[in-house]
């Protein structure tokens, strides 16, 4: 199959030809660009708006743009947004209701957006995140109509990762810097003595067709080798790693861990982690009425398990403490997500680490939970408690997935 797909080389100028070809087809091209001291995702009218010559230096709770001498466009790590900003926007109207002259209610579904996106520069971690949201929002019995429409029409152009950041850990989440599936085109940026160029692989018929419209040359072995080498090297340069254990079991067995108190003392419960997370999908609905009382609207907006109202039932919130809310987030993300959707909810993009104002690090929390659980299991083992001991057979270290 994949052998029939085109592999080619695009010059730096070819990138703009690609953007223009997409725009000529009526697509809204969205990609990374520099704004307000960060690489954000926004509509592009030209490839010149890409962050050529910008890199990022990130740490837990810290993000800075840095200049790069090589002029690379895709050498930055995850910014504050992800593609969910476009596929699953922060606020979306669901329907209008009007009171008619005879006192009846007339409900009208919100008009469809008819937007046809082309996402340029999707990182492999984000390709996986889109796949996760596909399962959540469009893969089950109850589908999000808006998401499904926007997603079905979207064209994905991946940019393989050659510059992982200090908060990246996709490899330890079973991913990696290479794009293996779920894209229409995959670019790998190469800058060396032979010039600034992009190895491009088609991943779908739409990708092949698009590539045919854009000036390109056949892929030479040299460019292929350099591109492959850069992606392979990136795999070894992840800034962080999850502990190499079965995270699903770890979190499931850590519900009463003391570590939750420790992290709760640091957590601002501000909700930033969930909003920058490319897979967090929770929404709530708001009803808007006007002063006449004859018109109402229902809007869907992002919600967060860090919001007290998120678990508000009769009498108050079920998860009132920061401890219980952080635990809910992490346990769902790394463990109960499997039961619900058949995979982990984390792709290792590192956004929650970078964009947490106080720099709470999901990998460090998981490692601390692991240490605490391992110590508890050792203790139980020494005391000869069989029941818990059985569990640690299940809770084995595993080889990091490749």
């Amino acid at each position: 199959m994949s052998d029939r797909r085109t592999t080619a080389v695009l010059a730096r100028t070819g990138l703009d030809a690609l953007v223009q070809a997409l725009r000529a087809r009526g697509r809204t091209v969205v990609g990374p660009t520099v704004r307000d001291g960060a690489v954000v995702l926004a509509e592009l009218s030209s490839a010149e708006e890409l962050p050529f010559g910008w890199g990022t230096r990130v740490e837990a709770g810290r993000y800075r743009l840095v200049r790069r001498a090589d002029g690379a466009a895709f050498a930055h790590t995850a910014g504050p947004q992800s593609w969910k900003t476009f596929l699953h926007p922060g606020r979306e109207k669901l329907w209008d209701a009007d009171r008619t002259a005879d006192g009846q209610l007339s409900v009208t579904e919100a008009p469809r957006a008819h937007i046809s996106y082309a996402f340029l520069g999707v990182r492999p971690c984000d390709l996986r995140a889109v796949a996760v949201q596909d399962r959540v929002l469009a893969g089950g019995r109850y589908r999000d109509r808006g998401y499904q429409e926007r997603r079905t029409g979207a064209l994905l152009i991946a940019a393989e990762c050659t510059e992982p950041g200090a908060t990246c850990f996709c490899v330890s989440m079973g991913g990696g810097p290479g794009a293996d599936a779920g894209f229409d085109l995959a670019l790998t940026e190469v800058v060396d003595e032979a010039g600034h160029r992009f190895l491009v692989r088609a991943g779908s018929d739409a990708g092949d067709e698009l590539l045919a419209e854009v000036p390109h040359r056949p892929a030479d072995p040299e460019t292929k080798a350099v591109a492959r080498g850069a992606v392979d090297a990136a795999r070894e340069r992840m800034g962080r790693a999850m502990p190499p254990v079965d995270l699903r079991t770890l979190l499931g067995d850590s519900l009463e861990a003391d570590r939750w108190d420790d992290v709760a003392a640091r957590c601002l419960t501000c909700g930033n982690c969930t909003m920058v997370c490319p897979t967090c999908f929770c929404t709530t609905t708001e009803e808007v009425t006007d002063l006449t009382g004859d018109h109402a609207e229902r809007w869907q907006r992002w919600d967060s398990c860090f919001d007290l109202d998120f678990s508000h039932l009769h009498g108050g919130p079920v998860r009132a403490s920061a401890r219980s809310r952080y635990r809910q987030w992490l346990t769902h993300k790394l463990s109960t997500w499997y039961e619900q959707f058949g995979s982990s909810g984390c792709v290792g993009c590192g956004r929650c680490v970078t964009w947490c104002p106080v720099g709470i690090d999901i990998t460090e929390e998981a490692a601390a939970l692991h240490d605490e659980l391992a110590a508890r299991l050792r203790q139980d083992g020494q005391r000869g408690r069989g029941a818990r001991g059985v569990r640690d057979v299940r809770y084995e270290r595993k080889e990091p997935e490749r």
Partner: protein, 264 residues
């Protein structure tokens, strides 16, 4: 616009110690003002009209904090005349800027500032309306947000709960796509501990939030203060930032932690 029917609910606006900015927000509802006057009878609103209809009123909006013995008496009277009482703004909900007096010696101010201190009858503290009477809803902000005020009024007319979330300003920054000024610029920002409602205006212009909406529903101030220090605020500057508009409200949170839920 037609005049409201005699059966329309009546609205009354009152002022205690305040700058009038929150009341002005009502007049600032330019496009919606006519629709509003068609739906409610404005019975008492001195900022807009000297014509005052006697109470009782269906909805009372109160701006300002209680700083004098007369205010303390008047707010009880206002409460008695309003079926639903909503406080608007940082003064009415948290004591306002003037609550700085709560941390100082008011006697000394009186002696130093006024030529005839004996003319000044004032309380030692500036307190929110809720410290004196039951309040049905508190709308935050310095000043309040026009959209939120309209939401409270329309919710009142529709007989529903207003949609005024208690979460942090960060929610609004992220929803509107603002780059975090703390993480990306190192700018001290009270957003993570501040009640949403303004639409996250300041960070959208590259400034840190200065907390004019007061604490959010879930504040961890001890975790936030080291962050402000990291971003260059000294102890004194941190205290000043927290004590600007909602001095008393943030002050009460210094050492406190949220209640733990009952753990099995």
């Amino acid at each position: 616009m037609t005049a409201p029917s005699p059966a329309a609910p009546t609205l009354a606006v009152f002022k205690l110690a305040s700058c009038d900015g929150c009341q002005l927000t009502l007049l600032d509802c330019e496009d919606e003002l006519l629709a509003l006057t068609g739906r409610v009878g404005i019975a008492h609103f001195l900022e807009a009209s000297g014509a005052v209809a006697p109470g009782p009123y269906d909805l009372g909006l109160v701006e300002g904090s209680v700083t004098t013995p007369d205010d303390a008496r008047r707010i009880r009277e206002i409460r008695a005349r309003c079926r639903v009482l909503v406080t608007i703004g940082a003064c009415a909900t948290a004591g306002g800027i003037q609550a700085l007096r709560n941390f100082a010696d008011v006697e000394e101010f009186r002696r130093t500032v006024y030529a005839r201190p004996d003319y000044i009858e004032t309380l030692a503290t500036s307190t929110p309306v809720s410290a004196h009477v039951d309040v049905d809803f508190e709308l935050r902000g310095c000043p309040i947000d026009r959209g939120q005020l309209l939401e409270v009024l329309t919710a009142f007319l529709a007989g529903r709960r207003p949609d005024v979330p208690d979460h942090s300003v960060c929610f609004q920054c992220k929803r509107r796509g603002t780059v975090c000024v703390t993480v990306a610029h190192g700018t001290p920002c009270l957003g993570p501990v501040t009640h949403a409602g303004c639409g996250a205006i300041c960070p959208a212009y590259g400034r840190g939030c200065y907390g004019c909406f007061g604490p959010s529903g879930s504040v961890n101030l001890p975790a936030s203060i080291p962050l402000l220090h990291r971003d260059g605020l000294e102890d004194r500057a941190t205290e000043r930032l927290l004590r600007t508009f909602n001095a008393a409200a943030f002050d009460g949170l210094d050492a406190c932690h949220e209640d733990e839920e009952v753990r099995p």
